[in-house]
Amino acid sequence: MNGLAFLAALALVFSGFSTLSQTLDRHYADRNGRGSVPGTAERVRLHGLGWAALALALAACVLEQGWPMGTVAWVGMLTLGALPVVVLLSCAPALALRAAGWSGALGGCGLLALRALP
């Protein structure tokens, strides 16, 4: 697994999980005030973006290593990428979506670079 694929996948997993965490009442409330819950439209949007980021992370892994090895690598990345999300949500939950946005963008660029490189 080369460094670029690793970092791109990590960024995308972090982004996906940060976004998905906002579909959970507890973490949404941490960011938007106690008792608030995301509306249906917002929930759908967050789910869509979050799962898309995780799928792109799978793409980054599989692109470089093939399906068997890539899937194993992706499962490992899910663990590694979720740990910083836990830290973020307990230290600075307000930053969750912004961090998700930035890391998603970086990860996306990394994925494009992977496709572009020979």
Binding site: M69, T79, A82
Partner: protein, 544 residues
């Protein structure tokens, strides 16, 4: 048992976990370290660092090895050469002593062999490389234990692994809000924080934990569950092995002499069959006899499965007798992949690091589970404890075992590495001495923990572990010249050695942080007047 599925599963989870958690912690620590066992072995043999730092093309290493063998074993009937690879940077040569030479070797059938480790760049014998079991000890520790017959150890570990499997499944069933709680961590909330830590490390690496436990059982499944072979093959294990793995039984010598065919065309034929993939091993039986066989195996390095395709040739005629492993049947392949996933032989450095992180999360999961039990039990006994009673036998025992295992194991691992650097290089029975250091340090920590299972002991042992682990790179700098200054800052040394130094440093810092936080908590608790603490809910570790 309480009524209800969740409650009964919670009970089962707690007990199946607690009874084996200390053994499991050893297994997880040893197993996690095993992912880098070759790197650990390299770190423990500083004499090989220079060779490892500058990889040599295999053709060159082979030529130099042959030259060495021509000089030193000219009349030997058989030479074996293991060429250097990414994880083992030296050339190993092995030869059978020519008939008539005095055999003063290890005795028995092993006395016929002699082996040397060569520097791949010069072909020279590497002289006194310090004798050590290296990372292999840690690898074997996690399923063969030590100081007992491997068979007993494997049954014990198998039973513990079944308990772990039951604990994982019952844990998932009992965790009602497993998806809502998946990212939850609430620090500084006593029992709840320990529960959050246990849940986080367990759930975030749940695929790994489930996989590693089940595949661990699968690696020894014919020992634990031989009943399929018993019924379907009437107990004929050899017949099963032959059909399932293509392993032919060792033939008998025919008595007729027949020269062994040249091996090179057979290797070429195998490589053509495997579309250019290189062979990893050649095994020859009964060379010079009419019943000789030559079996060429392809390495399993690129594939998930551990099973290696192989081709068996008649040694006298060169005819292909059998191929196996090219199109493995589904169940066989499943088994091969499962064992492969457990060993992670296929993993490059980054993927291996992911496995390592998952293994560490397993260690933290087991440790936080055990600590959580202690905290919960202490809370149940809080009233009695506050009134001056002593902790129950079970609580005191669990506290002591927790300290001995969670704080004691890092001390043991560190002692093993310290012994490697400090023991004299040319000492007799050196590997045993290093291993004794491991167990002696652990025994001291465990006994002290039993004598005084208190917070002070936690802090003392955590600090000891932290200083010993973080001190390893310093020790390395004082005893060798492939320390971090050379390997990392000047970028010249083997990367594996730098990685090892950095990893133990990070682990030492983490332990130190834990000890420091515990120290602050203790000071804060002492500052609160005793009358204001009837619930003891913030008491996280150990007795006072």
């Amino acid at each position: 048992m309480r009524a209800g599925l969740r409650q009964s599963m919670a009970w089962l989870h707690g007990w199946s976990g607690l009874l084996v958690c200390w053994v499991l912690l050893l297994v997880f620590c040893g197993g996690t370290a095993s992912y880098f066992k070759d790197e650990i072995t390299l770190w423990m043999k500083p004499e090989l660092h220079r060779a490892a730092a500058a990889p040599v093309p295999p053709a060159e290493a082979a030529t130099l090895a042959v030259a060495f063998l021509q000089r030193n074993a000219p009349r030997s009937p058989r030479w074996f050469i293991s060429l250097p690879d990414e994880r083992s940077p030296v050339t190993q040569v092995l030869w059978i002593r020519a008939p008539g030479e005095p055999g003063s070797g290890i005795g028995g059938s092993r006395g016929r062999f002699e082996s040397r480790t060569l520097d791949p760049a010069t072909g020279a014998f590497l002289g006194t490389v310090r004798d050590t079991r290296g990372g292999e000890f840690l690898y074997r520790l996690h399923f063969d234990l030590y100081y007992m017959q491997p068979l007993w150890a494997r049954w014990i570990i198998g039973a513990c692994a079944m308990c772990m499997l039951v604990a994982i499944l019952s844990g998932v069933i009992t965790h009602r809000r497993i998806f809502q709680d998946i990212f939850t961590f609430r620090p500084r909330k006593g029992q709840r924080s320990w529960l959050d830590a246990h849940n986080a490390t367990a759930v975030l690496a749940l695929p790994f934990h489930l996989m590693i436990t089940y595949t661990g059982l699968v690696t020894l499944m014919f020992m634990y569950m031989p009943w399929g072979v018993q019924t379907a093959y009437r107990g004929d294990l050899q017949a099963f092995n032959n059909e399932a793995f293509g392993r032919a039984p060792l033939g008998l010598p025919s008595g007729q002499a027949a020269p062994l065919v040249p091996v090179a065309p057979l290797v070429a034929q195998a490589m053509r069959h495997w579309n250019g993939a290189g062979p990893s091993r050649v095994a020859i039986t009964l060379a010079g006899d009419a019943n000789a066989t030559v079996t060429i195996s392809r390495g399993s390095a690129g594939a998930l499965s551990v099973d290696e395709p192989s081709m068996r040739f008649d040694g006298a005629t060169g005819k292909l007798v059998a191929t196996s492993g090219d199109a493995p049947a589904p169940a066989s392949q499943t088994r091969g992949v499962m064992v492969g996933l457990h060993e992670a032989h296929f993993a490059g450095p980054l993927l291996r690091a992911l496995f390592f992180v998952s293994g560490l999360s397993g260690c933290v999961m087991v440790a936080t589970g055990a600590l959580l039990w202690g905290v919960k039990t202490r809370q149940r006994q809080a009233k009695a404890l506050a009134a001056g009673a002593r902790p129950s036998f079970g609580l005191r025992l669990v506290d002591a075992l927790n300290i001995g295992a969670i704080a004691g194991l890092p001390i043991a691992f560190a002692a093993y590495f310290w012994a490697n650097r400090l023991l004299p290089v040319a000492m007799a029975h050196r590997p045993d001495a290093e291993i004794r250091a491991f167990f002696a340090a652990w025994a001291v920590a465990a006994v002290l923990a039993q004598l005084h299972p208190a917070r002070a002991m936690w802090r003392a042992q955590l600090w000891t572990g932290a200083l010993m682990l973080a001190g390893i790179p310093v020790l390395n700098a004082l005893t060798t010249d492939t320390h971090l200054g050379a390997t990392l800052l000047r970028g010249q040394g083997p990367a594996a050695v730098a990685g090892f130094d950095l990893t133990v440093l990070a682990l030492g810092i983490a332990l130190g942080a834990a000890a420091w936080v515990l120290g602050r908590r203790t000071a804060a608790r002492k500052a609160v007047p005793a009358a204001r603490q009837p619930h003891g809910a913030r008491d996280a570790k150990g007795a006072t």
